[in-house]
Symmetry: C2
Subunit: 129 residues, 2 copies
DNA sequence: ATTTGTCTACGAAAATGTTCGTAAATAAAT
DNA sequence: ATTTATTTACGAACATTTTCGTAGACAAAT
């Protein structure tokens, strides 16, 4: 059967996903502590958003213990891929390459990063033949 | 004096900016016709959003004629730059290079596009020395 | 001149996202 | 055992964004 497509995460939801991506499955308490370092926010606000995310299917959770443990339903890369797609559509008229050029141009990249990108390009060129 | 920083455009606002970027200064009627091709929406909805954008400073307008002509207050590239910055922060933990790698990897690029990127990288490498 | 159409302005409803207070259950501390 | 702290659930207030109806000004068509 077809994979059910999940809604695009909102800003607040994305902030939570980032913490989960970095730290793995976590409790609301932990996520909230991390988010609090960036911005003051009530505990129940974090809780509520995570509950909504679980409802939407963005997060899964283990409720065996009183303290529920949440984790993303999708791989980080899959979510990022979808986000890039939407972003490119809404701000770059669908041209991912235009985005790449802009992002590359406006950002100071280290030699190592540039080498990585070159390597990726080489690989893509080879695949074409 | 310092350049007043404009708010980040919303989704609906971005759709309007894209039409303006492509077609230059336009009337509400024209923008609305373009947007209608993508999605059904009332004329006054488009009008209202453009008026709000003018209030916010995102758009300028010429009101000499009864039919006002709107145009973006900022260059396309400036707005895109800001959008990339926010996007990278919210979805890529601030790493523009991660975004570039993902966008590059997930997208089929033409030889010509790859050449352009390579050229840009060359230029960036030279600048470092 | 009168009607018909097009435009802006305004305001408010509807939809979406965010915030948090309160209550109930459970666990931990005294 | 009683108090204190932690956690989930729920609901509602608040904020932001999107939507559009209505009215008034002006222009075009008849």
């Amino acid at each position: 059967m077809a994979k059910k497509s999940l809604p695009k995460p909102t800003e607040a939801e994305l902030a939570i996903l980032q913490v989960l991506w970095e730290n793995g499955p976590s409790s609301v308490r932990f996520i909230h502590e991390q988010l609090s370092q960036e911005k003051e926010v009530g505990y129940t606000t974090t809780l509520k958003i995570m509950q909504i995310m679980a409802e939407k299917g963005l997060l899964q959770r283990n409720t065996d213990q009183r303290t529920h443990i949440y984790y993303p339903a999708l791989e980080k890369e899959d979510t990022q891929k979808q986000l890039i797609h939407d972003f490119v559509a809404s701000a770059f008229k669908g041209s991912a390459m235009q985005l790449v050029m802009q992002a590359l141009g406006n950002h100071k990249a280290s030699d190592k990063e540039l080498q990585e990108i070159k390597a990726l390009i080489e690989k893509m060129e080879k695949k074409d033949h």
